[in-house]
């Protein structure tokens, strides 16, 4: 069945800078914003943009992600034609390999894409929090007569050297691309979202695969090669909330951005819903003595203590006299009486014993140091976990490399 446009979602990354949070699961499966997982954002953007065929390329620890995606029904991606398809690396008659790079992952699935004979392919990654209408980007791609369109956003000049930076002409056509340049010529950063004309991409992927010196990467190989050949490449300017949540700090920041009416990340917008596979649990119960302010809470939570400027995922229990502030609690965390949690991320099903003290507020003018607990970590009563310390599931300290 022919599709004008399909999407390929790169979800194989380990997310090593999320450390213990991705010990057992791929980064796109990490819970976000109380009721979501990171991958809900690109999947929901796809269906809201009218893209109903999405290949999800998995490699690292895919079980959690696979079972989360399931049939694709929560995102309406379980249609008769297309829908969501998990694409792991596979063996062929002449052997097989792991996905060597982002371009190689797509190359290995040329067969999947050819089935739909698409005009355009959208390449997405599974580690960004944003709402974007890809159909608008495709319109830009068609109008510019481009073979490749890259979504870009303006970043502060002093941060530009951390991104892939584009230089553009008066028509916003890309003239130069530099990956993390020391002296950036512009402040237009790539958001890692690409639209390609499929036949052109297919040719470049095949050539890239034949090049033994290539790293098989979109940013390092495919895009520079297209630019070198003088292919028309357009920039698509995006204004709105976008955040790469590849680090513990940025994951925490994005969760905090969601709080309050003033944030750019509006998840209440009914015109652009973010769908999620939700857990079945009774409504939130807020006890008679609780004190909750500036916080997001979800189903199945029982709150008897104090919660301030925090994000609580489903089924979190906070006992009387416990106190949580500036923290992100993933599903199923239990905090016993008298415990204090500050500036922390607590993994799924962590159990915090009575009178524990996890993390701490930064001193005036100092940078915050998040305390982070791996999923299933159980802290015995009275334990102190200093700011910036990370514990594995056994409660032993691990270093952030």
């Amino acid at each position: 069945m022919k599709k004008e446009c399909i999407a390929m979602l790169l979800a194989g990354g380990q997310g090593s800078r999320l450390y213990v949070l991705t010990g057992e699961m791929a980064k796109p499966a990490v819970p976000f914003g109380g009721k979501y997982r990171i991958i809900d954002f690109p999947l929901s953007n796809c269906i809201n943009s009218g893209i109903d065929t999405v290949g999800v390329l998995t490699q690292y620890r895919p079980m959690e992600l696979n079972s989360y995606i399931g049939s694709g029904q929560p995102w309406d991606l379980d249609g008769i034609d297309g829908g969501v398809q998990i694409l792991p690396p596979y063996m062929g008659s002449s052997g097989g390999t792991w996905y060597k790079g982002t371009a190689n992952a797509i190359y290995q699935n040329i067969g999947y894409m050819d089935q739909y004979d698409p005009e355009y392919v959208v390449i997405l990654s599974g580690d960004h929090i944003y709402k974007m209408d890809y159909s608008d980007m495709i319109r830009r791609h068609k109008k510019a007569g481009a073979v490749c369109t890259i979504s870009v956003m303006e970043v502060p000049w002093d941060e530009a050297s951390r991104f892939g930076i584009m230089a553009v002409d008066g028509n916003d056509m890309i003239t130069e691309f530099a990956e993390k340049p020391k002296e950036p010529k512009s402040n237009l950063a790539s958001m890692g979202i690409y639209v390609f004309s499929w036949q052109a991409l297919r040719k470049y992927l095949t050539e890239d695969e034949a090049d033994p010196n290539s790293e098989n990467d979109f940013g390092k190989n495919i895009i520079p090669n297209m630019l070198k050949d003088g292919q028309p490449m357009a920039a698509y300017r995006f204004a709105g909330y976008w955040k790469d949540v590849g680090t513990l700090d940025s994951l925490w920041d994005a969760n905090m951005d969601m709080l309050g009416a003033g944030s750019d990340l509006d998840l209440r917008d009914e015109e652009w819903p973010i769908y999620a596979r939700s857990v079945d649990a009774p409504p939130i119960f807020l006890g008679r003595d609780c004190k909750v302010n500036n916080s997001a809470i979800n189903r199945g939570c029982e709150i008897h203590g104090n919660v301030e400027s925090s994000v609580l995922s489903p089924n979190v229990k906070v006992a009387n006299g416990a106190s949580i502030s500036h923290s992100v609690l993933l599903p199923g965390v239990v905090v016993e009486a008298g415990a204090v949690i500050e500036y922390a991320i607590l993994g799924e099903n962590c159990h915090i014993g009575k009178d524990c003290h996890v993390g701490g507020a930064p001193a005036d003018g100092k940078k915050k140091e998040l305390a982070v607990l791996a999923p299933d970590c159980k802290l015995e009563d009275g334990r102190t976990v200093a700011p910036g310390v990370m514990l594995d599931y056994k409660g032993q300290e691990v270093a952030k490399k």
Partner: protein, 370 residues
Amino acid sequence: MNRLHGIIFSYVMRNDLRELTELRSPASVPFGGRYRTVDFALSNLTNAGVTDVGLVLHGRYQSMLDHVGSGKVWDLSRKRGGLRILPPFNYQKDWGVMPFRGKMEALAGVKTYLDEIRQDYVVMMDGDLIANIPLQDVLNQHIESKADITVVCANDSYKTADGTYYEKDAQGRITEVLFHLNQPRGYRGLEIFILSTDLLRKLVAECEAQDQYSFRRSVLLNKRDELNLQMYVWGGFAAQMRSVQEYYDRSMQLLNPEIRAELFPAERPIRAKGADKSSTYISESGSCLNSLVAEGCWIEGTVVDSILFPGVTVAKGAVVRNSILFKGVNVAENATLAHVIADKDVEVQNGRTLMGHYTYPIVLAKNSVI
């Protein structure tokens, strides 16, 4: 294959739910912050492994159809069996026009469906019962006691309008079936019955031939000596809501943690259609105490002793006490509500004050603007 088949009655029955059932049947009345009453019957069935369920509808059932959809939420969207929606399809009599007078008449209206039931036993239940009952245990007792019909009853002091009450002997056999009593006595019937599929077919045919419509009168009462009627006594929470007062009182009991534990045990989850809403947010000015709150609410005012369904907004300075606010209710700044049940999408504008009482909660009809 599971041996039990489920039939849920969700036609409009006599009740005093006033505005709450103006646009819906009693079985699709919102309850407990995120449920419809029928979610309990459906979840009780699926938690007992039941895979085939018939839902008997009659009148005001659009809200029910919207809610149950394909039955996917309860794992009842299946290739074989699954959820069968049963509006009246035999118009020879007046079934399309007049409400059913009783269960036997309703079943006579879906006789071809009864003939196709694959399971040996049928559990019949009303769609407006709020309880979490292990129906597998009821079936086991039914088989062990060699009963013809097992009737599930509550052993508590609640009285419900138009309820049926039962008395039993020491062996558990039902000796008396009581209704229309001024002073109810005995065990309160929960309108859950298990019987064999063959017996059900026989009884439906018999009643139809004699133009009898009532299960409790023509079968339970008249045949109590002829048939072995056994009682299963359920000790947990079980609410039948036939009036606004009952609805209000029983809803407010959910603020008690012991009642919630009885109704929502982890091993028998109550499943409900999810609303795709974001997290609930409580702002710095907001306060929410002793309340049950669904997702997608936005609380900047004060909420105490209340139940909030998805997407409720309580603005700054507003105070909500002892109230039940359905999906999408908007309480504007400085408004005050006490002992109010606000139906879907009600808007309470700036500074308005509405006060009911424990003994007379005010009901605001769907979409009304105050």
